[in-house]
Amino acid sequence: MSKANAVVKNHFMSDFILPSKLSLVCQQCQQGINDIRCPYCHCFTQQTNHNYFDLFHCVHSLDIDLEQLQQRYYVLQQLTHPDQLQSLKVSERIKATALNQLINQAYQVLKNPLQRAKYLFDYQESEHTIADPILLSEIMDLQDALLESDTEAELLLFKSKIQCKFDTIFNQLKMADSIYKSSEIIRSLDTLNYYTKLLTQVNDQLEKHLNRFDNVTAN
């Protein structure tokens, strides 16, 4: 799925968003099926390159129902977890394990907002550097602000500020993902990506603070 296609597809989807499902053909009995296990011959599909949204019966959108996502995750786990399938043939168990690994990976991506966005818009971080001058100057300012935050309270305040900025951009993207141009989406993702890295930095700093505090009390 290329970036341009993703955007076009969302244009079309915006009018009638329906949860999508898998559309497969069972390799064993050649029936058309819409899940990873054939309801007719009970064989698992060999295919492991399913679209994450289809696999989880979600709309191709940033705005997904997390409660439903988890319910579907449990259903898929019941279906494919190795513990549930001790009595099956080895070949079926191998197929199920490969699917189970995919399910774990897909769930990890879909439940995390930034990763979900990156997957939806097929965003490759390494492919481009940040070029937007407004974003670049914001990055400089934020880095300075982080350097100046020394106390735990300051760091926590900084953290909540970044989190707030992240949420704002993410919500804008969520509302407008079908009308944004591809360049606008990439810019938003660049920004979200940077905020996430900054949050990791802040958390590291906070951890160091806690450790230093421990040493003081120990002495």
Partner: protein
């Protein structure tokens, strides 16, 4: 014959039930599910291996002997460690076979005139657990779920599995201890919500955040310290006794350790120990830094799960060390709620293991979704770590990353596989080195080598590498550097055959006991059901033989048991015929 008529339902089962084993630092324990109830199969067996009458012995008998120097404690703390690691530990330093051993080799420990590895010592403990379970159950045990601390790394897990393999046990699953506890608690209480498990055992600390939902146990995050536990509480008491120069300072190290443990137990019950050498207040002060360390792990797990203490519905306390009142107190303050202490902290893990063993052999549909405790990655040029699987990723998992060459025409790539959270490879646990050959001679940066990490449901890692243009695929089962090499394993299996003579005798006795017990049970049931077919003199005669056989079984006299079983079979032969005739008559 008697057996066939009297109880047609108890046919020889093809599949024997699997048991759950808690292989602990200080105690080990086995349990099984029978009629939906959890039954403990053994008493708490001290995880101590010693030499008694020139024989390796496990359990209380070792503690009771006067010569405590000939015993090895807390073997679990040595699992998967190198000589170097052991030298830095005060508890086991003195038993290292040879201080000159290669720092990265598998450490051998002196016990009597033998040198044993931690894996072999653990196998001894498993053997004792298995023996006692078989005696109680009346049949052999082939399969088990064995628990490990959630924070065990790949080497430590592999070592545990190796120990079971040496003892001939098939490991259905290595189950994380806090997860086991959560399963036992969750199923017993039928609860739902997010729970924290605080598991402070003899040698390890684990904290897991687990969500219970419709029979599914989903581990959200786990954290811990594999070298923090009740042993360390003993250590601070020992240090205190040595420093305060009281009468105990002169005891040898192991005796001092046992005394310290004794004092700790007393202080968990009362304000001061019997000899008045330590008050509870002073003890609390001494262990305070240790509890701080556990709470830091708890905080880590909570942040990883993106939760706060307010999201936690209950705190399940596991492990003997959670009997210390100050621990309960601090944990309660941290979570703003009273921890759940109405469970037996020593037994809950074994019960969870038994539940899982039952589920895995088709008993129930409980589903556990566990995570990998530590990140896994490879070392890059310059010694930095590229993480491939992040900690707290749900397992089974499969993740891949593509790497390339540094120099033109480079034909091989050394993959150094490491586990840990630090950025530099030197600070992480080294798991394996794996060389990938056969890269086509291309310019640097052009070859694409896809490295795939796979973790199975036991949390064990397999690594494979794939070069696209040549389609060469190579894979390695990560036999951890500090675990056992295939050669070591083979040597041990050879050794175990050499020991087989002793084992064979032992096995014969067990088999004879089982056979005798089985016959006694059948005869007694038959006598109760068809008393009318026998003269009371005949019944008395049968009971005399049974009494004799029972006492022989208890004293484990092989020849007498075989003889007694034979006599009893002969004696009841006629009775069996009559029962058969009687049963047939009733049928027609």
């Amino acid at each position: 014959m008697l057996l066939q008529i009297s109880e047609p339902t108890t046919q020889q089962q093809n599949k024997l039930p699997a048991i759950g084993i808690d292989l602990g630092t200080t105690h080990s324990l086995a349990a099984i599910i029978q009629n939906d109830q959890c039954v403990t199969l053994t008493p708490l067996i001290p995880s101590v291996v010693g030499v008694l009458n020139e024989q390796l012995t496990v359990g209380q008998a070792v503690l009771d002997q006067p010569d405590t120097m000939r015993a090895i404690f807390s073997v679990k703390r040595l699992m998967g460690l190198s000589v170097q690691d052991v030298q830095s530990q005060s508890i086991h330093q003195h038993v290292l076979a040879d201080q000159q051993q290669e720092p990265s080799s598998v450490p051998r420990l002196v016990l009597g005139n033998q040198q044993l590895t931690a894996v072999e010592l653990s196998a001894e403990i498993l053997r004792e657990v298995k023996r006692q379970s078989e005696l109680k159950l009346g049949h052999e045990v082939h399969q088990a779920v064995i628990t490990v601390p959630a924070y065990f790394n790949d080497s430590q897990r592999q070592a545990t599995k190796d120990a079971a393999k040496l003892e001939g046990l098939e490991v259905l699953r290595l189950l994380n201890e806090p997860t086991a506890a959560a399963v036992a608690y969750g199923l017993d209480q039928q609860s739902s919500g997010i729970y924290a498990v605080y598991d402070l055992g003899g040698g390890t600390f684990d904290c897991s955040i687990i969500k219970f939902n419709q029979g599914i146990f989903q581990v959200l995050a786990t954290s811990g310290d594999t070298h923090l536990g009740g042993d360390d509480f003993d250590q601070v008491i020992m240090d205190h006794m040595i420093n305060s120069k009281n009468q105990y300072g002169k005891l040898d190290l192991i005796a001092l350790r046992l005394k310290a443990r004794d004092i700790k137990h007393q202080l968990s019950q009362s304000e001061s120990d019997l000899d008045g050498c330590l008050t509870q207040e002073k003890f609390n002060e001494l262990i305070n830094p240790l509890i701080d360390r556990t709470l830091k792990c708890v905080q880590q797990a909570l942040s990883d799960a993106k939760l706060t203490v307010n999201d936690i519905a209950g705190v399940i306390m596991v492990g003997g060390s959670t009997r210390v009142p100050y621990v309960i107190d601090r944990v309660g303050k941290f979570f703003n709620q009273m921890p759940l202490t109405n469970l037996n902290p020593d037994e809950i893990v074994a019960h969870g293991a038994a539940r899982q063993a039952y589920a895995l052999t088709g008993g129930t549909s409980t589903l556990l979704l566990d995570v990998v405790p530590l990140s896994l990655g490879v070392e890059l040029m310059g010694g930095l770590v590229e993480r491939i699987i992040e900690r707290n990723t749900a397992i089974p998992a499969r993740y891949a990353k593509t790497f390339t060459t540094q120099q033109d025409g480079q034909s091989g790539l050394v993959l150094h596989i490491v586990q840990g959270e630090r950025d530099k490879a030197d600070d992480c646990r080294s798991l394996a080195h794996f060389t990938f050959h056969g890269i086509p001679p291309l310019k640097a940066g052009l070859p694409k080598i896809k490295v795939t990490f796979q973790i199975d449901a036991d949390g064990l890692l397999t690594v494979s590498a794939y070069e696209e243009s040549t389609q060469i695929q190579q894979s390695v089962e990560v036999n951890a550097t500090y675990g056992l090499s295939v050669q070591d394993m083979r040597q041990m299996l050879v050794d175990s055959f050499n020991h087989a003579q002793v084992d064979l005798q032992e096995r014969r006795i067990i088999e004879a006991c089982l056979k005798g017990k089985g016959l006694i049970n059948t005869v007694i049931t038959a006598c109760q059901q068809d008393q009318s077919l026998l003269h009371h003199n005949q019944i008395n005669e049968i009971y005399v033989v049974i009494d004799q056989l029972e006492s022989d079984i208890n004293t484990r006299k092989l020849d007498e048991i075989v003889q007694g079983t034979h006599t009893l079979t002969q004696l009841t032969h006629d009775f069996a015929d009559r029962r058969l005739a009687h049963a047939l008559k009733n049928l027609t």
